[in-house]
Structures are given as structure tokens and as C-alpha cells.
Symmetry: C2
Subunit: 238 residues, 2 copies
């Protein structure tokens, strides 16, 4: 079954075989190249998507042409599904930013199941609550962390937070994307990264970041955050 | 019945009399003065709250003592209810910021009803989707609007957006609170307000803002926003 991967994600726990059969009947597995636009903000939303591999950027564009990145997602994530609560229109645009294998699925099947299966509705509520908490945190950070602290926070979420001392972090996507994910202009990002280097002694080599002292990085970044480090209950940045 | 007000809010549409009776059996109507802390971020959450009148600030504090305002709510809003999806702990602190009449209600009754009444679970999903959209917008604005545009956006949401030309806006709470709601230091807020005055010709007299030309304000503020003015589907800022 194409949809076997879906059976393992928390959202669909407790859904019966009839639901998966119905999804399977309409599911398509597709490969997409970098640059492909999957849908545009406001378009009628007939499908939701499961990322088997690759990277997808969710974004919106302002009237003056600036792009606001909503999220950058990778394998195991779904997107487009919240449109079923948004008058069946996509609340953002989606673009493939790294070659991806994507499972294309019908929103109508999801919608019917949520209306009839309280277990799925409750799973969806937990999922939405997690998203809300994540967004809450993001708003907090945008309000009170400086740009260098925000980059530090992004890096910390890419680590195994239980480790101590020296770690090597690989950036999940290129620096331009990291900057836009953090809502920064490239120049702001460069300046803030340089400052973070001065403050915490990290070393950046291409897509690799060497941290000699994880604690130093967390003391600097987490001072302007209401959660304690290591941070619990948060989806990782990637 | 104390809980009669609840019957009219969208969240509880489709809930039966047994649910309201059960809420009524535990409901208390209380008056609180400005400054009262209702609960602290992370505390066990046994109750949720409905605001009959007044103003409540939801916030979190960072390790270095800075306050991040999550929201400022008024009559007709509930708070504390999402804790039922957060391991029964409050995800923020709540403080009374203007004398308030508050209905105190048991989370356990809400939780049981959501688990058993799919209609309520679906209402809650719509409600969470609306919150998510609102937060999404806030993240977008924090990333790409400048401080003056954010104040302009806040003012626009207080108007009847269908009106044109001259309008008078009354700030819903004092300027210090408006600043913290927008995640700005008081000095940043003052500077940004002065700039907004220069750019759009608005006049501020205490808690009143005179706008000669609503279109000029929206052209300035909404240039850095992905929604068109008037903005649909958004909860108002207050």
C-alpha cells in the first residue's frame, strides 16, 4: 500500500482500515524537482500532502512582493491539511525546495473521517495544539530574542539537547533558506551569525557548524526565552 | 443560569443541556481587580475561564525577566482551555489588567465532553484553526512589517473596515499595554507611532486616534502584508 507510511504517524492513530483503503484508492506518489510550486495561497484545496523525502517551503507573499516563510518541512510531515478548516482554501503557498517524493491525498476523505471519527478529531486537536504552542514560541522569540539568539535557538533545536560540550551541527538546508525561515534579510542574518560567533565561539564551515561548548550557546540564546533548556514539547526546527 | 452566556459562543454550539447543567454545577462568577494573577505558566490546570467583562493579559516570562505578551482578551473570550491538550498545565500566565467579571469553569467537564461529543471536537478544531491563522499572521507581521506598520495594522483592526475616509478609533487599553501586545519596548513604540503620524497624518490624543483618511493608513500598513484590506477571517486585535 502506498499509504502505509501514514499508519505510523500520530495523527492517524486509531483510524480503521476502511479509512486507509479509501485514502489508498485516491493516493498518488509523485516526484518533484526543486522550484515546483505545489499550490498557491487562497487556491481551492482538494488535496493534502505527505512528504516521504525532501524539503517543502510553506510561504505567503505580501502585496509589495516580500516573502514570509511560514515553515520548512521535511520527511514525515503533512501539509495542506488545515485547509479543511479554512473554507477549503490553502492558507499558504507551497514550493519544493529540495527534490522530494510526495504522497498526494484527497482532503475530502480526511474531512469525512474527522466528522465521523472522534478519535481522529482528538488526534487533530492535539496536533493543532502542538502547532499552536510552536507558533506561540515563535511569536515570543520574534518579539524578545535578538537575531543572534534566534539563530542560536535554531541551532540548538537541531542538536540532541541532552548532549553536552562539543557538537557538530549540519544545517538542514542552505543558509538563505535558514535566514528566510527565521524571517531575516540575508544581510541581517550574516551580521547576526558573526555576532553569535563572537559571543559563543561557534565556527561555521559551509553547511556545518562546530560548537565547542553547547552550554555557552544555550546560556546566550535561552536567556531571552520563557522555556528552560533543554526545551520540551517543541517540534524541532527542521 | 450562570453559564447562559456560554450557550451563545460558537465553540459550544451543538452541546446539549446535560453539558451545560454539568458546567453550571461547578461554575463560579467572580470579580477581580487589576493586578490579580489568575494562574502561572506551567501550573496544573483545573479550570478554564470565560470573560464576562474586563481585560485579561496572557503572558510568559523569560529567564532574564522579560515579559512576552501572548494575547490581551476581553468580554466573550475564554482562556486556559487549551491546557487540556497540554498535559493539563497552563501554557501561559494570566493577569487581570482591567477590573473583570470572570466565570470560572472546570476543565474536566470540557475534556470529557470533547472526548464524547464530536460536534464539540469539530467546533474546537475550527476555533484552533482560527487561532492558528491569527498566530500565522502575527508571525508574518513580526517578520516583515516595520514597527509603524504593525501599529497601523493594530489600529485598522479596531475599525469597521468597510468604512472609508475619516474615523475615530478608541484604544481598547492603555498605550503601554498596546506596546507590549505588539512586542515593542515603550521607546520603540513611541518612535514608531511618531513615524506613523508623519506617514499617514493620524492624530493621537490620549486614548483616541483620529484618522482623516483610512485608505492612506491601510496603503501604508498593508503593503507589508499578504492579506488584502479589508482583512477577512481574522479575529480583531482586542
Amino acid at each position: 500500500m502506498i499509504v502505509n507510511n501514514l499508519k505510523h504517524i500520530a495523527l492517524f492513530k486509531g483510524c480503521g482500515p476502511a479509512f486507509f483503503d479509501e485514502l489508498e484508492a485516491h493516493a498518488q506518489l509523485q516526484s518533484y524537482q526543486k522550484g515546483k510550486i505545489m499550490f498557491i495561497n487562497g487556491e481551492p484545496a482538494e488535496r493534502f500532502y505527505f512528504i516521504k523525502s525532501g524539503w517543502v517551503k510553506l510561504f505567503r507573499e505580501t502585496l509589495d512582493g516580500t516573502q514570509a516563510v511560514v515553515d520548512i518541512l521535511t520527511a514525515g510531515h503533512i501539509f495542506g491539511e488545515t485547509s479543511i478548516f479554512e473554507d477549503d482554501a490553502y492558507p499558504y503557498s507551497a514550493e519544493i525546495v529540495g527534490s522530494s517524493q510526495i504522497m498526494v491525498l484527497p482532503n475530502s476523505v480526511l474531512k469525512t473521517e474527522i466528522e465521523n471519527n472522534n478519535k481522529l478529531a482528538l488526534n487533530m486537536l492535539s496536533f493543532m495544539a502542538r502547532c499552536r504552542r510552536q507558533q506561540d514560541k515563535e511569536i515570543e522569540h520574534l518579539s524578545i530574542q535578538n537575531a543572534s539568539q534566534r539563530i542560536g535557538c535554531f541551532l540548538l533545536r537541531l542538536t540532541n539537547q541532552e548532549s553536552a560540550g562539543a557538537v557538530t551541527i549540519r544545517l538542514p538546508y542552505d543558509k538563505t533558506l535558514v535566514a528566510s525561515r527565521l524571517g531575516m534579510q540575508p544581510e541581517t542574518f550574516s551580521r547576526a551569525l558573526a555576532k553569535l560567533r563572537d559571543k559563543t565561539g561557534i565556527r561555521v564551515n559551509g553547511a556545518t557548524v562546530e560548537v565547542d561548548n553547547l552550554e555557552q550557546l544555550s546560556i546566550y540564546s535561552c536567556a531571552a526565552c520563557s522555556s528552560e533548556f533543554p526545551c520540551k514539547n517543541l517540534m524541532v526546527a527542521e
